[in-house]
Amino acid sequence: MRKVAIVGVGMTKFGEHWEMGFRDLILEAGVDALADANMQGNEIDGLFGGTMASGKMVGQEHIGALLADYMGLTPVASTRVEAACASGGLALRIGVMAIASGMHNRVIVGGVEKMTDVSADEATVALGGAGDQEWELFQGATFPALYALMARRHMVEFGTKEEHFASVAVKNHANAAKNKFAQYQKEITIQEVMESRPVASPLKILDCSPLSDGAAALVLVPLEDARKYNDTPIEILASTQASGSLALQSRRTHTALYATKIAAEKAYQMAKLQPKDIDVCEVHDCFTSAEVMAIEDLGFFPKGKGGFASFDGETALNSKISINTSGGLKGCGHPVGATGVKQAVEIAWQLRGQAGKRQVTGAEIGMTHNVGGSGATCVTHIMKRAD
């Protein structure tokens, strides 16, 4: 199997884009990624687009065909990938497999979500489809409620406090304020998080990632061709995936996501690395408590210590391990299908030394962690700057 490299990246600002529709968002990101790769559109032989809920949000299915058409890439082979909030990360994994297998040579991976054309209520129902629609959403369990149930167990089993969760939001906003693509440009305080409106106890509005519009894109080629397109190609060392029970009630534990542990273990094995080798990691902080679980599940901190470590600043920019330098889902925004791709864009910038004020000094190895639903899908990638 061939090694795969990222040679082009692009993303739109994440936020409320009243003037841009679904098609406009992915076009902007795609064009930026191709320009970054010094590649012409007609060189692309495959397109993989991740989006979770286009049907409910904009009434549109058959996204593969739409992306190719609107980007002027028809008749390229174009595929929609869906795994709830892991749609973007999974689109990347499918793109990696397409190149590694030898069946494709120049692929564009995109992720996009347009969430503000519908009301917040309707968006909440659409997002509820990431969980078990029949047994969770149908009883009034919103997506925040599912993570809240896990957060409470983390508090019960490990003594984690709401302030610990809040510190994650504070850090991610601080990072986002250094990221011109981030939805939120303002720092916040622990007190502001603690006093924010409750959503699903113990989670409050500032513990929750927002509804956002946005898109991100990557160009992938075999590593051996990479320098034709970009001087600082990023080599993908591992691309892994695991599934977990759809419904929370079917899980064995509620303070960890087994899908994350399994995908991460496979990734470290594939890359022949350990958690301590990772310099910078984008994790799936759909809620502050999700980041606390993630940094434990990925092996960066011992089980139960994620809250304390976050509160003590061990995941801040240029601390023990820089987590979510983009601002994460909380600070940068979470256009669902775009997030997994954006995570890779951020890591690529970090490894190229192009992350500006949020640069992790000497970043050599980066990782992305993208989760679907309350943990039913996890996709992880490990990458480094190519030699």
Partner: protein
Amino acid sequence: MKAGIPSSWRRMKERYLLVGVHCDTCGHDFFPLRKICPLCRRKGKLVEKRFKGTGEIYSFTTVYTPPTGFDLRAPYTLALVQLDEGPKVLGMLEDIKPENVEIGARVEQIYRKWLEEGEGGLIHYGFAFRVV
């Protein structure tokens, strides 16, 4: 949210009677119903089992931002209940103030309305729980 009559009719046994399955091969119980054992797959011999509906609160959350259809009920409390037989089930926790909910409290199953599909639409009923 809509579900339609056929899909609701299919779920009646589970929603009203808390009927799940017991796998004779591995000895585990599952709720809701499964057509194949998650552990044994085709080797699993599944038998329907009605759960007693008694258990304890394993986790809970009070929802303040409801999805469409639950607007009038908010805030409401959902509990992950650990049934005495082993499986966990998510259900509405009724007749209790959020500040009085405790992990480990004993609960029993009751019947409540789940969701009304708009004016003139289907009304769904099913299990819920209350503290004993």
